[in-house]
């Protein structure tokens, strides 16, 4: 018989009891969350033992709106998904509609789309670099460095389309208007600044021991796991798999352009950062080639009907978005509206891997891992 009263021992958990677990809430109003994202971290001291993400604060019913508005009207909603690279989303949407209705796109329009999409990609990656630097804690210097170049790109996009973030520039069948006259000169000027800006940020972040130490070997992801989790884009490429939809399933004029797919070695946070940095050079290369190859001709298919009506057709169009595979599933059943539009958003799928990736790391690292996924809440929540 034990001499100890039993009830005294029944709160004793002999297995795995550490200090008191604490739940801390990160977001939706938190300096580190990119937009309105919330996660509940259960921490033991400084280590994360569980993570529960909450999304949906920015859910605007994109898919429902696309069913309720006709094909041209609905396009305005789509560049609000990945609002850091609106033109890419427009391109994907227009490609989906064109696929459904079998619309030809003039080559000049394709080049313009690709050029502006790649500029948007650079823009989005600049945003990533700036915000990521702030996540790691560099007090906004990376942010302002990145912002400088972003302003230049936005100015250029504004000169072309009339708007900065949400240009609504593409149309099913082409683009709304032609490029301005001095576009090539301006674009080359901006590109020069972009190269400089990438080098500056490279020096500021990669050239810093603390930054590298924070990111190196942090939360490595294997290729198999990444594929199983549905992670795409730079995060997948950082694991060493050279899979880019621009090469794997070429669309638009990408077959005519020369560029490489940067891949990482270990799939850790540092590789994700480096892959994005390298991708920016590649995007700039693509823009330069587009400037050289830009053909003349119409910028919009002249044979378009005023009111687009599409009979039964179904397509799943995917392009390489800034965050990964940006897929648009479209189903038409007659009439001037889509029967169903579904966005396969890369941020959404990458974010679903978050809770698995942060467990076992420090709270500070959880923020960095979240930053390294580079989510855009407009795209996650649709």
């Amino acid at each position: 018989m034990s001499i100890w009263p039993e009830e005294r021992l029944d709160h004793v958990d002999t297995e795995g009891f550490h200090t008191v677990d604490m739940t801390i809430n990160v977001g939706p109003q938190h300096p580190a969350t990119h937009g309105v994202f919330r996660m509940l971290l259960t921490v033991d001291g400084e280590l994360v033992t569980a993570c529960r993400p909450y999304i949906g604060y920015l859910h605007r019913g994109l898919e429902k709106l696309s069913e309720l508005n006709d094909y041209r009207q609905a396009m305005g909603f789509w560049d609000r998904t990945d609002y850091l690279a609106g033109l890419l989303c427009e391109q994907a949407y227009c490609m989906a509609v064109e696929k459904l209705a079998d619309i030809e796109v003039p080559e000049r329009a394709e080049y313009i789309r690709v050029m502006l999409s790649e500029l948007s990609r650079i823009n989005s990656h600049f945003m990533f670099l700036g915000a990521f630097g702030a996540d790691v804690g560099s007090f906004g210097t990376s942010f302002t460095y990145a912002w400088r170049e972003r302003e230049r790109i936005y100015d250029l996009i504004e000169e072309v389309s009339g708007d900065r973030m949400f240009p609504t520039y593409c149309r099913p069948g082409g683009v709304t208007m032609d490029l301005p006259e001095n576009f090539e000169k301006r674009c080359r000027e901006v590109l020069g600044h972009i190269y400089q800006g990438i080098d500056d940020l490279d020096g500021l972040l990669t050239g810093n021991e603390i930054f590298v130490e924070r990111c190196r070997a942090l939360s490595p992801l294997t290729t198999e796991r990444a594929i199983n989790l549905g992670v795409t884009g730079p995060v997948l490429r950082s694991t060493g798999l050279a899979w880019d939809l621009r090469k794997a399933e070429p669309y638009s004029v990408y077959p005519h352009l020369k560029f490489d797919i940067p891949v990482g070695l270990r799939g850790d946070v540092f590789d994700r950062y480096m892959v994005r940095l390298a991708e920016m050079y590649q995007s700039a290369r693509i823009v330069e080639q587009c400037l050289e190859q830009l053909p003349g001709g119409p910028f919009l298919n002249p044979n378009l009907p005023k009111n687009l009506r599409i009979d039964d057709a179904e397509a799943y169009v995917r392009i390489e978005g800034t965050k990964g595979e940006y897929g648009v599933y479209a189903l038409a059943k007659g009439g001037n509206k889509a029967y169903r539009m579904k966005l396969r958003s890369p941020s959404f799928c990458n974010l679903s891997a978050l809770s698995e990736m942060v467990v076992g790391h420090y709270v500070a690292d959880a923020i960095i891992i979240l930053g390294s996924l580079d989510i855009v809440l407009g795209e996650v929540d649709k």
Binding site: L68, D70, D312, Y316, Y339, R344
Partner: protein
């Protein structure tokens, strides 16, 4: 979607050959090969698609719910194989009122959130799903906004959405 006389790509033959026991009907969409299966055969088909060396569909791209109104709900899966670089779309139709489907979360971790989204937006029930909470909507909300029967807000009716006109009148 397409006419019967369209020639199917070699992938269709490969799937038929690899998985002879699973009854499915192949057709083509504008972009991909489409396989239509019954809910009971879904798990067998997907398991086969994933495990068979000639198919190797290791990546779940997308899950799309559809409201086919009187024909019940449909779910479309898109799979991709990194090894072979091919894509297939799998369509499952569920009868009205019984939208039960087996979960794929055990095979593809990516299916977790996709299925949660389809469940809250359309009212699918994924049997065996590890975490069937709402994802985008509030957790205690039991409405399915992407159903065609979901009521619109007055402002949307004012905008002319309900009567099918194409937007504002000026």
């Amino acid at each position: 979607m397409t006419a019967e006389n369209v020639t199917l790509p070699p992938l269709a033959g490969a799937i038929k050959k690899a998985l002879p026991k699973v009854p499915c009907a192949a057709s083509l969409t504008k972009t991909d090969l489409d396989l239509r299966v019954a809910p009971a055969d879904l798990l067998a088909l997907v398991q086969g698609l994933k495990d068979h060396p000639d198919l190797g569909f290791d990546y779940l791209r997308n899950v799309t719910g559809l409201d086919m109104q009187e024909n019940g709900l449909e779910l479309k899966y898109h799979f991709y194989s990194f090894k072979h670089g091919h894509t297939v779309q799998v369509t499952v139709a569920t009868p009205p009122g019984e939208s039960h489907l087996p979960t794929l979360a055990g095979l593809y971790a990516a299916a977790d959130w996709h299925e949660r989204e389809a469940a809250e937006m359309f009212g699918f029930v994924f049997d065996g799903h590890p975490d069937p909470r709402n994802l985008l909507l509030e957790e205690d909300l039991r409405i399915h906004p992407l159903l065609k029967a979901h009521p619109l807000q007055p402002v949307e009716i004012v905008q002319g959405i309900e009567d099918g006109r194409a937007g504002f009148e000026f």
